[in-house]
Amino acid sequence: MSGKLLANAVSERQNLKVTSTVKQVQLRQAEISFDFRQKLNDTLEGFRHNYCYQCGACVADCPAARYAPEYNPRLILLEALLGFEEELIGENSIIWLCTNCYNCFERCPQDVRPVEVIISLKNMSVERGTSPEEIAKISESVLKVGSTTFITPLVDRRRKELGLPSLKEIPVEELKEILED
């Protein structure tokens, strides 16, 4: 199925190159994946990508786009609409440059909440095993010790010096229990 739709996808991307003010858009042959779109629709807020009418309001106030012109939330939404799975949740996807600042959430006239769609894409990337290693490192720490940072003797010393009570025990076992299927 994807073979047949390949040409369409490529021509959309070429069109994109002509009309986009962002010249860094890379052209690659892209396959349309309906499975991917279905999966995105089923995530917590992924369905919202369908409301995008490509106005670009999300771009102007995006700090990641300001500092890295190759990052463009409108194009991410377009690729989601087109079903470009590899581009979005393959290795080294551009989605990881999102700063989670929520400016796009503020600006979007369609309530797409681009940042939330991107978070859904990140979840899909994690499931596929293509996410940056920091994600696993920090979430494993949460599940192992109940916090993102480790408690060292220095922490206890500093807390004591500041007259703070000692740290409370973190019920890690309870965390594990609620996350089990």
Binding site: T43, L44, E45, P63, A64, Y67, A68, W96, L97, C98, T99, N100, C101, Y102, N103, F105, E106, R113, I119, S120, K122, N123, V126, S131, P132, E134, I135, A136, I138, S139, V142, G146, S147, T148, T149, F150, I151, V155, R158, R159, L162, G163, L164, P165, L167, K168, E169, I170, P171, V172, E174, L175, E177, I178, L179, E180
Partner: protein, 291 residues
């Protein structure tokens, strides 16, 4: 007013001086912080949410349920915890389907999200429940002449439809609170720029932080004032890293709001843990001593 404080990992473990500065200043505002047992990481809105949003919501729901048992509103001290717990509280109050899903998980440990309390950053609770005037009344040593370049950070204000704290494009909350200490909040052109911490790039967050520090230096502020430990990380330790990496000479002190309030209430810099900062706060404390 009695609240349940949610200290979070960054503050209680990495930057306990911020916890100390809150504990030592807010009792004068008539705030009682009643600690509870049983919290875990909020969990963090960047990494854990990127891992699995449903798990993120479940863990956050559990933390809120723990606080609900105590019966008081949560006050957070970190913008990350604010983001996670406020958004989760909003989702679980509004979306009955997700609430049921989360509660099925929580049932296994005898807990339930009921939707009975609010979650706010402590600065929001102070503005709304206590009042800025009351903050000013606790000041015994006004920070006259101290120019503070405010960095709002993202997650105190946005998404504004959920946070409902202030106009995200023209916020006043932190400037008003800084003014209450007698210091002068100074506007700078990048006051609303993100610190870049969540952006997974070696170079983009660096450029953001460089621009931000330069934006504050350009208006000749004595320090940067903020309320988020993650932003603090980017700017305090961040300046040391940037100085080495890009041969910069940054030395802008970065001060958490409650450290400023503490100084204005006559507390010693050491009691507020200012000596733990990588960028020494000398130019701030000297100015305060001279005021």
């Amino acid at each position: 007013m009695k609240y349940t404080p949610f200290w979070g990992c960054m503050i209680s473990i990495k930057y306990p001086q911020f916890e100390a500065s809150i504990r030592k200043t807010v009792d004068k505002l008539g705030i009682e912080l009643a600690d509870v047992e049983g919290f875990t990481c909020c969990p963090d809105p960047i990494y854990y949410q990127a891992k699995d949003k449903m798990e993120w919501l479940t863990i956050a729901g559990r933390n809120i349920a723990v606080a609900e048992e105590a019966g008081h509103d949560i006050v957070t001290c970190c913008s990350g915890c604010t983001s996670t717990l406020s958004e989760a509280n909003h989702i679980l109050k509004e979306n009955t389907e997700l609430r049921e899903k989360v509660n099925q998980k929580l049932k296994k440990v005898g807990k339930e999200f009921k939707g009975t309390i609010r979650v706010r950053h402590i600065v929001t609770a102070i503005r709304d429940d206590i009042g800025i005037d009351k903050v000013a009344e606790t000041v015994t040593k006004p920070l006259k002449g101290l120019r503070v370049g405010i960095h709002y950070g993202c997650h105190l204000l946005k998404p504004s439809a959920i946070m409902q704290v202030d106009d995200p494009d023209h916020p006043a909350i932190l400037a008003d609170l800084v003014r209450a200490t007698g210091a002068e909040p100074v506007e700078h052109k990048l006051g609303l720029l993100c610190c870049g911490k969540a952006c997974m790039s070696d170079e983009i967050p660096d450029r953001m932080v460089i621009d931000l520090i330069e934006s504050i230096e350009a208006v000749k502020a004595d320090c940067m004032g903020l309320i988020c430990p993650t932003c603090f990380d980017e700017f305090d330790l961040g300046q040391i890293v940037l100085n080495r990496k890009y041969q910069k000479n940054f030395e802008l002190p970065v001060i958490y709001y409650f450290q400023l309030l503490g100084l204005a209430q006559g507390l010693e810099p050491k009691e507020l843990g200012l000596h733990f900062h990588k960028i020494k706060a000398g130019r701030v404390t000297e100015k305060v001593a001279a005021a």
